[in-house]
C-alpha cells in the first residue's frame, strides 16, 4: 500500500554543498502537511523539487503511484501559491483565476464563470473585475489560492504564503486556508518557518534542519515528544537539561547540577548510563517561594521578567543551566528580578531526548 505522495531518498547537491540529504516522506490523500524549519534547512528546495522547478540529484517523487520526476512543471498539475502571490498584474482577479483553465482549453465564458465560483469560495464574491493592485494583501492571497485550486490540482503547495501579512490577518488566513483545504479535500504541503502557523494548521509537521528531516509527526506529538534537541528548541520554548540515565527501568536520570530526576515515558529504549537531554517546557514549571510537596524542585535566580500582560516569561538560572518559566500574568507579582525562588515540576512533564 503506497501513499498518495511519496518522496523517496531525495538528495540535492549544489557542487559540494548538500542541500537535501536522503529526504523520504509519505503523504496521504487529503492530508495537510507542513514543512517547518529555519531558512536554508531544505524545506523550500524540497517543495521546488515537488513542483518541478528544481531537479533532484537523486531519488524520486510519485503522486498517486505515478512518478512525476521527469515531468516539466506545466505537466504536473500542481497548484502553487507563491510567497508574494505572483498574481499577473495585467489581468483582473477573475482572469487570473481563469488562466489555468484557459491553458487547459476551457472556453472563456465557462472558465470565467468557474473562476467567479472559485472566488466566492475563497470569500471574494464580486471582486472578479479588480486588478491585483486594487486588492489588499489578504485579498491577493485569496485570489492566488483560488487560482491554484480552480483546476483541481493533484497537490496544493503553499510557499510561506502568509509571511507578508500582518499578525491579525495572518491568523484569519490560517483559519481560511484550513477551511478551504478541508472543504476541497486537496492534499496540501505548506512551507513555513513560523512554528505557531505549523502547529495551528497541520495534520502533520515535518521538521527540516540542514537538509534532513529531523522529525515528522502530528503537531502535539512534535510538541510533547520531540525526537531531537533541535526539534525541541525549534518548536515552542524549551529548557534543556543534560543528564545521565541512572535507572532506565525506574525512569530515573541524574543531572550534575539539578540532581536526581524522575522522567516520563520515552519512545526510545534507554540504557543505564546513557547520556540524554531532558526537556521541560516553560509552561510546565511552577514558580513558588518554597518547595512544593510531590514535585521535583530546584532553586533559580531570576534575571529578567518579560511581561506580556496575560502571561509573563521569567528568565533565570538554576546553577549554570539557563531556565525559562512561563507564568500567568497575575502570578508574577510574587517575585522580583535578582531574587532567588523555587521552581518545580512533575515527572510527567519531563521528556527525554536521546540526540
Amino acid at each position: 500500500m503506497t501513499s498518495y505522495l511519496e518522496l523517496s531518498n531525495i538528495t540535492k547537491a549544489y557542487g559540494n554543498f548538500t542541500a537535501l540529504d536522503n529526504v523520504s516522506l509519505s503523504v496521504e490523500k487529503g492530508e495537510f502537511v507542513t514543512f517547518l524549519g529555519p531558512s536554508g534547512s531544505g524545506k523550500t528546495t524540497t517543495l521546488m523539487i515537488v513542483a518541478g522547478f528544481e531537479k533532484a540529484s537523486g531519488g524520486s517523487v510519485r503522486v498517486g503511484g505515478r512518478s512525476i520526476s521527469e515531468l516539466a512543471p506545466h505537466e504536473r498539475n500542481i497548484g502553487i501559491v507563491f510567497q508574494n502571490y505572483a498574481l499577473f498584474p495585467h489581468k483582473t482577479a477573475a482572469e487570473n483565476v481563469y488562466f489555468p483553465l484557459q491553458m487547459r482549453g476551457v472556453n472563456r465564458a465557462k472558465g470565467l464563470r468557474q473562476a467567479e465560483d472559485m472566488l466566492s469560495l475563497v470569500g471574494l464574491k464580486g471582486f472578479g473585475h479588480r486588478h491585483p493592485k486594487e486588492l489588499s494583501g489578504g485579498q491577493q492571497q485569496r485570489v492566488a489560492l483560488a487560482r491554484a485550486l480552480v483546476f483541481e490540482p493533484s497537490l496544493l503547495l503553499l510557499d510561506e504564503p502568509l509571511g507578508a501579512l500582518d499578525k491579525n490577518l495572518r491568523e484569519q488566513m490560517q483559519i481560511e486556508i484550513k477551511r478551504i483545504q478541508r472543504s476541497l479535500g486537496v492534499t496540501t504541503i505548506f512551507v513555513t518557518h513560523d512554528q505557531s502557523e505549523a502547529m495551528s494548521m497541520s495534520d502533520r509537521i515535518v521538521v527540516f534542519d540542514k537538509g534532513r528531516i529531523e522529525q515528522c509527526a502530528a503537531p502535539l506529538d512534535i510538541y510533547h515528544s520531540p525526537q531531537t534537541s533541535f526539534v525541541a528548541s525549534f518548536i515552542g520554548e524549551s529548557n534543556l537539561i543534560p543528564a545521565t540515565v541512572t535507572n532506565a527501568a525506574a525512569r530515573i536520570a541524574n543531572s550534575p547540577v539539578l540532581g536526581s530526576f524522575d522522567y516520563a515515558g520515552s519512545d526510545n529504549a534507554l540504557a543505564d548510563g546513557q547520556e540524554v537531554t531532558l526537556l521541560i517546557r516553560p509552561e510546565h514549571i511552577k514558580l513558588s517561594r518554597n518547595p512544593i510537596e510531590d514535585r521535583k524542585s530546584a532553586r533559580m535566580t531570576v534575571e529578567t521578567i518579560v511581561n506580556y500582560g496575560d502571561n509573563a516569561l521569567v528568565i533565570g538560572r538554576a546553577g549554570d543551566i539557563p531556565m525559562r518559566v512561563r507564568v500567568l500574568g497575575a502570578d508574577v507579582v510574587i517575585i522580583k528580578e535578582g531574587e532567588e525562588c523555587c521552581i518545580s515540576w512533575t515527572p510527567d512533564s519531563v521528556f527525554v531526548i536521546t540526540r
Binding site: H74, N77, I80, N84, F88, H90, K91, F99, A148
Partner: protein, 282 residues
C-alpha cells in the same frame, strides 16, 4: 522664535531652486528663447500672416514629405522593435557574461558618435564598399544601388535608434518577477501561450516606451536621412534644412518646424494619457 524658524525653513526651500538655476538659465537662453523666436518667425517672415502655415498644410510637396516622414518613422520603429525585442530578451535572460557582452555591443554603438556611424554606413554601402565587392565576388554583376536610397537611410536609422528600443525593453524585462513565470508554468502555460498571455503583456510597457521614443526621435531625424537617403524621398527635418540653407525661407522652415513640434507634442500627450510620461525614461 516661531517666526524666525519659519523664515529659516522658507530660506532653505529656496536652495533646490538655486541649484537648478544654472540649468534653468541655460535652457531659457539657448532653448526657450530660440524656440519662441522660431515661433515668431513662422508668422512674421516674410510678413505678418499665417500664409506659411497655409502653404505647409495644403502644399502637395509638404504633405507628401510629412506623410513620408511618418511612414519612415513608423517603419523604423517596427524594425527597431523586431531587432530589439529578441536582443533585449537575450540580454535579460542569458548568463551574466553573455548578457554583459551583448550589453557592451549595444552600448558601444551607442557611444560612438552618430556622425561616425552614419559615415561608416556610407563606406560599407558605397559603390566601392565591401558589400558591393562581396556581391560582385559571388558573381552578381548587376549590383543594386545601395547608398542614397530609402534602404540605406532606414538601415542606418534602425542601427542608430535600436539601442533606445533595446534599453527600454531590457529594463522592463529585467524587472519581471521570475515567480510570475514560474507560477504561469505551474498553472499549465508553456512556450507560445506563456509568451502570449504572460510574458508579452508584462513587457508591453517597455515596448510602448521604446516605440514612442524611437518614433519621436525618428520624426525629427536630420543628419542620417540627409546624408544616406534618397534625395527624392526627403524627411521633414531635411526639408526644413533645405528651406533655410538654400532658399533662406526662414518663415517657411519655422512653420514646418512648429507643425512637427506640435505633432510630436500630440503623440507624447496621447502616450502620457495612456501610460504616463514619467515612465518614458525608465
Amino acid at each position: 522664535m516661531g517666526s524666525s524658524l519659519s523664515r529659516l525653513t522658507e530660506r532653505t526651500n529656496v536652495w533646490p531652486w538655486l541649484l537648478l538655476a544654472p540649468l534653468g538659465i541655460y535652457m531659457l537662453v539657448f532653448f526657450v528663447v530660440p524656440l519662441v523666436d522660431v515661433a515668431i518667425m513662422s508668422v512674421t517672415d516674410p510678413r505678418v500672416s499665417l500664409v506659411n502655415y497655409q502653404r505647409v498644410l495644403t502644399g502637395a510637396l509638404y504633405q507628401r514629405v510629412f506623410l513620408n516622414t511618418f511612414l519612415t518613422a513608423a517603419f523604423v520603429t517596427v524594425c527597431c522593435l523586431a531587432v530589439g525585442y529578441p536582443l533585449a530578451y537575450l540580454m535579460a535572460h542569458s548568463k551574466p557574461r553573455t548578457a554583459m557582452l551583448i550589453l557592451l555591443l549595444v552600448t558601444m554603438s551607442f557611444w560612438t558618435s552618430f556622425l561616425v556611424r552614419t559615415y561608416s554606413w556610407m563606406v560599407l554601402l558605397g559603390n566601392n564598399g565591401p558589400l558591393i565587392a562581396l556581391l560582385q565576388m559571388i558573381g552578381i554583376d548587376d549590383t543594386p544601388q545601395l547608398l542614397f536610397t530609402r534602404f540605406s537611410s532606414t538601415l542606418a536609422m534602425v542601427h542608430i535608434l535600436a539601442p533606445y528600443m533595446i534599453m527600454n525593453i531590457f529594463s522592463v524585462m529585467k524587472k519581471i518577477d521570475p515567480a510570475l513565470i514560474r507560477s504561469a508554468e505551474s498553472l499549465g502555460a508553456r512556450g507560445w501561450s506563456l509568451f502570449r498571455h504572460v510574458y508579452l503583456p508584462l513587457t508591453a510597457p517597455g515596448i510602448a516606451n521604446g516605440c514612442v521614443l524611437v518614433f519621436v526621435i525618428c520624426l525629427g531625424f536630420y543628419v542620417t536621412p540627409v546624408l544616406l537617403g534618397s534625395p527624392r524621398e526627403q524627411m521633414i527635418a531635411g526639408l526644413i534644412g533645405h528651406q533655410i540653407d538654400e532658399f533662406l525661407a526662414f518663415g517657411m522652415g519655422s512653420a514646418m518646424a512648429m507643425v512637427l513640434l506640435l505633432i510630436t507634442f500630440v503623440i507624447l500627450a496621447i502616450y502620457h494619457r495612456r501610460f504616463g510620461l514619467d515612465k518614458l525614461w525608465g
